[in-house]
Amino acid sequence: MSIGDTEIDSRDRGCPTMGGPVAMPGAAADPSAFVRTEDDGLAHLDLLVRGARCAGCISKIEKGVNAIAGVQLSQLNLSTGKLSVNWIPGAADPGLIARTVADLGYQVSPYDPGEAEEMRDKQGRFLLLCMAVAGFAAMNIMLFSVSVWAGFNGEMQDTTRVFFHWMSALIALPAAAFAGQPFFRSAFASLRKGKANMDVPISLAVLLALGVSLYETMTGGEHAYFDAAVMLLFFLLIGRWLDHRLRGQTRLAARELLSLQAATANRVAEDGSVHAVQARDIEPGDTIILWPGDRAPVDGQIIEGRSDVDMALVSGESAPDLVKAGDAIRAGMVNLTDKLVVRASARTEDSLLAELTRLVEAGETARGRFVKLADRAAQAYVPIVHTLAALSFIGWIVAGAGVHHAVLIAAAVLIITCPCALGLAAPAVQIVAVGRLFKRGVLVKAGDALERLAEIDTVLVDKTGTLTLGKPRLINADEISADALVLAAKLARSSRHPLSRAIADLAGPGAVAKDAEETPGHGVEGTIDGVRVRLGRADWAGVEKQDEDRSGLWLVAKGAAPVHFIFEDAMREDAAQMVAGLKARGLRVEMLSGDREAPARAAAAEAGIEHVSFGLTPQEKIARVEALVSDGKKVLMIGDGLNDAPALAAANVSMSLASAADASQAAADMVLQGEKLGPILTAIDISRAARGRILQNFGFAAGYNMVAVPLAVFGFVTPMIAAIAMSSSSIVVTLNALRPFMIRHKS
């Protein structure tokens, strides 16, 4: 068993009701700019709530919001995280609604679905409707078909048979016209581009079967393929719908990038009043205010204030930088300690964040060129099938059969060879594999990501936040007295600086020094039990000896010896084990770090990685990925920082961590839910097993065709045989898809 086999329940993670981490109370942007008035005269607001996982969450949020005076109805969709609120215009304050949810412990931001998103929802509903119609039609036509088959020995009169065929036609024709739309449209679009995808033979088989059957019915013939045509649509629509659900499963993760962009900003009007506006309405020259915890919506220049700023967007490192009036600030940076007044220098679409988004999109477009296994098989399969059908048509004409008989044979060939295994087997294998990985703490966003993962030969890993925890941790806790820690924590709890958070996390919940005041870039000062206490940099706290180590904090209280807190970004527990596991699977491992040479080399040595690149900018990371890809390598990129996002998108397949920046999670194909790296190995193993299973199903489909096609070509396939052969092959292929994972489950 590999180290990735620990089961974690990723559902409990982040749920405040079940004791998960809680969002900062009151940290909610004012969503007034997103309120719209509906036709029913009510004001309507959609909020994206993150962290809701269970009945307790639903009930807490809905009750809390419904209790606000004026609110008519609030409803939380747990699958998408969308909270819809209605109220009488003017009766309730949208800011209060957002704050109420935030105070309950959930992260909340305005919900702004893109058009593409809404299209997807509609498409999903349409597929479900098509499936229902096809299923209804298939079952009811079977009612007639089975009677007709049972009556073939002469018990059924011709008039009854013709009547049954007409009834079948009455159901099949409208049903196929409706339920076949997804296939007909796609086939038509593909033919217009001069290509043939899998939907072309499907559409052709269905249309030909229906046409032939209708002709048979009108002329009183014996054979009608209405059941086969509609059943074919039903089976394929199941596959389509599974595939659609697979892609929609982790839409929440993909939406994170959008939620960054749907942010609001506090703009200062000419009269000095402050209004919340949509970030995209900010023009160059506007003055905006950034409170501690706010993310800069656009690039700009600081005109007032001093504060620590989280620069992870550019460097990927977690240590914040001090900025002051005159300094530049880039979109996506997070203000940590003090109020800043910023003059915007670019619109949102010209900002660094937008630039990164474009790089991510470019990478995703390139990845879209990946041809799925099923499509690759279809490319080889389609011409063969069509040639076979055409040849048997010509063959029977030459052999002296009538056109009518030859068309019947050709239709039978097309029906019997229809790629059910390709359309149903691949999504079935993938949905099982994705479900399995979800239980092991890996969120997979696309079925084809598993196919890409199975092919990799090179793994690129980021250092900070990926191999390491990405958060400073106190390493000399043994040398620090419990009293000193309690004292430091009272100051640290008031600050958002990463080092303060590290102390506060270690000390746990507790009191905060009442008059604690933070000096950006230096430290926190406050009065505890009547004594002035400072926690911060050596020179500021008043410690004589200057330590060369910048990542330390000093605690200085009157009448006590100064205490030194030393921090280090610790390696994840199973990093070395994971690297060894990757090597054991025959993969080349390389580290890409934005950090300096010494720490990068030290981390690589500890993890057991020989190939190291350091001091890389986001652009250089992409360049490295692209160089490898153009070399013909199949690259897996694992990273977490915002600066990794473009490289994640550029790689053949990518993974990110739950603690990663939102944009990185959005850019990655898979997201690890826990703190452990072991699931990476599980994901690779399962993806390889899934690929094997898909290929096996294709092999089965090919074998089935080798038996069935000669029968069809030589005219032995009656509608009954076609129907039985097709449904049994679909069922066998689906059962085979479920098989390996059932065995795994038992062990």
Partner: protein
């Protein structure tokens, strides 16, 4: 066999009722939040007699 003239339309009508009901459930958004539905059954907001006040 003339009984078929009545029985078949009757069977089809019943099946159409089922299809119509399913289409209604899709259109009214009952499959939009599969995750929430399974949790909502645990919420008994309609009765408050079990909470001793």
């Amino acid at each position: 066999m003339s009984i078929l003239v009545y029985l078949i339309p009757a069977a089809l009508f019943l099946a159409l009722l089922g299809l119509g009901a399913f289409i209604w459930t899709v259109k009214s958004g009952q499959y939009d939040d599969m995750e929430g539905a399974k949790w909502r059954i645990f919420m008994d907001d309609d009765r408050d007699d079990h909470i001793p006040e």
